[in-house]
Amino acid sequence: MISYLVFAGTIAGFYALLSLGLVMTWGQGGMVNLGLVGFVGLGAYASALLSAAGAPIWLDWSAAAVLSGAVGVALCFVVRNLRGDYLAIVTLGFAEILRLAETNEKWLTNGSDGISGIVAPLKGYFGDWFALFYLLLTWTLVAVAAFFLNWLLRSPFGRALRAVRDDEQVAAVAGKSVLRLKLQAFGLGAALSGLAGALYAHLTSFIAPDVFIVQLTIYIFLAVAAGGYTRLAGAVVGSIALVALLEVTRFVAAVIPGLDAVQVASLREFAIAVSLIVVMQLRPDGAFGLTNERSGFRGSRPIQDLGQRQKAVLDDAS
């Protein structure tokens, strides 16, 4: 039971890192990254391959973060002018292409069989305590990432980034380099995803293209939406809630008699998807609500610009 909880806690830390990255790009930077899982896969494969080549663990993980971050910056640069829903399509497609490459470039990735036997750091040294060590290591990384991002978002950089999110033109008029801020936010988010991927690879010691599918992206969107998608604290709490939901549905599905493994799995995925829809309907601002980052007062989301822009979606209000 303890080892089970420790494992679930480590996975929660993995989700928390991803959620922090998504808060950075989406909540604070205003760019939706539906290709999140692609960057996770990139980091996981980079780290696993480097580690197999004999590189030390710190190098593997740094390389994973740097590679994912660099690819993120490059992708963001290419799509810098696309508006929200087009960005969603492109990033989604990007992750799908990466998954295709992971499946088919057998010389590098061993295809759909995946890579197994990825070496865990210091496993011989810690022995039985390894799982606990990894849990602490994961959450230390989460804490470092959260404090770093928190510092960053409170700094002038954070204010400029939110200005870009809320109105690019105004930010540009105020002398902010819109493109550079976007690249930094997207790259940071991608780098965190890559690091999380590396962490995951060395935790489970096995990765395959099937691990990095769009479902994982939806998980993280649920965690971030549940916690309030501009809030770092919300991302962490949302990730813990996500793992709790995943584990609860596992037990509930196991209690219902006569279900086979496929049905149990589909029931869980169904629950996650429905939860995301329900959260978006009932609490679009998340459990933590939103603080108006500009003034410090609690208020509505500053993006609301009714009357300034043509109403984009046909609604039922009138």
Partner: protein
Amino acid sequence: MLTDVLQYLVNGLIVGALIALPALGLTLIFSVLGFVNFSIAAQLTAGAYAGWLANTLLHLPLIAVLICSFVVAGALGVVTDRIALAPIRRKSTSQTPLMVAIASIALNMALENAYRFYFGSGLNSFDMPIARDMKIGAVRIGRQQLHNLEIAIGLAVLLALFFSLTRIGKAMRAVADNVDLARLKGIEPVRLANLATFIGMGLAGIGGALLAIDTSVDPSTGSRLILLIFAGSVVGGLTSLPGAVVGALSMGMIGELGLLVLPPVYQSLTAFVAILVTLLARPGGIFSGATGVRR
């Protein structure tokens, strides 16, 4: 070599014609409701399953099977849209289109897993007589595929007539063009939005059934095609119905021609590149500059 190219082009045309139906649906929904509905993939699968059940359990003929697919996918599309997406649309901010799009991905995942729960992950084939391929010169065409091509083109023509001749069709175009003006003229946008969703999802359903007749249906049938469908729709401008047909047909042919240089597993790559190039060349879609098209 030349016959190879010709064969690829014919194959591409057939794939493109099947993709054209869901691409039309996606475009119709986007232009009337103003958001990208990713759940069209799940409705395509719904149509395929409905057709499969109608064919294998009830032994209905092809046309009845397709009507079944249309109605089931359309009805499911409207019901799920009302339950899952409409409440999110109600709160109107500049972020709303994106929020609804994300919710529609979740809806897609929910539906896909519902199918997996009931039908399992296996492949289900239709019970259709297998006809011998026709040969025109050196080019081979399957009779069923030729039939699919005819049906797809016929439906596109029917849709074009509906939008240019009937009152409802014109009203729908008016809503797509400018909601406020349409409302001013006494057009009820919400009912039209439901109709657009019904027709759009129904078309995706027919596309799914035709596709499944050619191959088979499993819970992920639609999701595997989503990139190709989007490519057709985006290349065509995302708000233009003729554009969607042209886009889908050209995507089909480009994808097959890509096989000359790419291994078959990378067919989605051409779709992705096409989306990227189109959006980068014209960030608002090919027809973004045209008057009367909602941005």
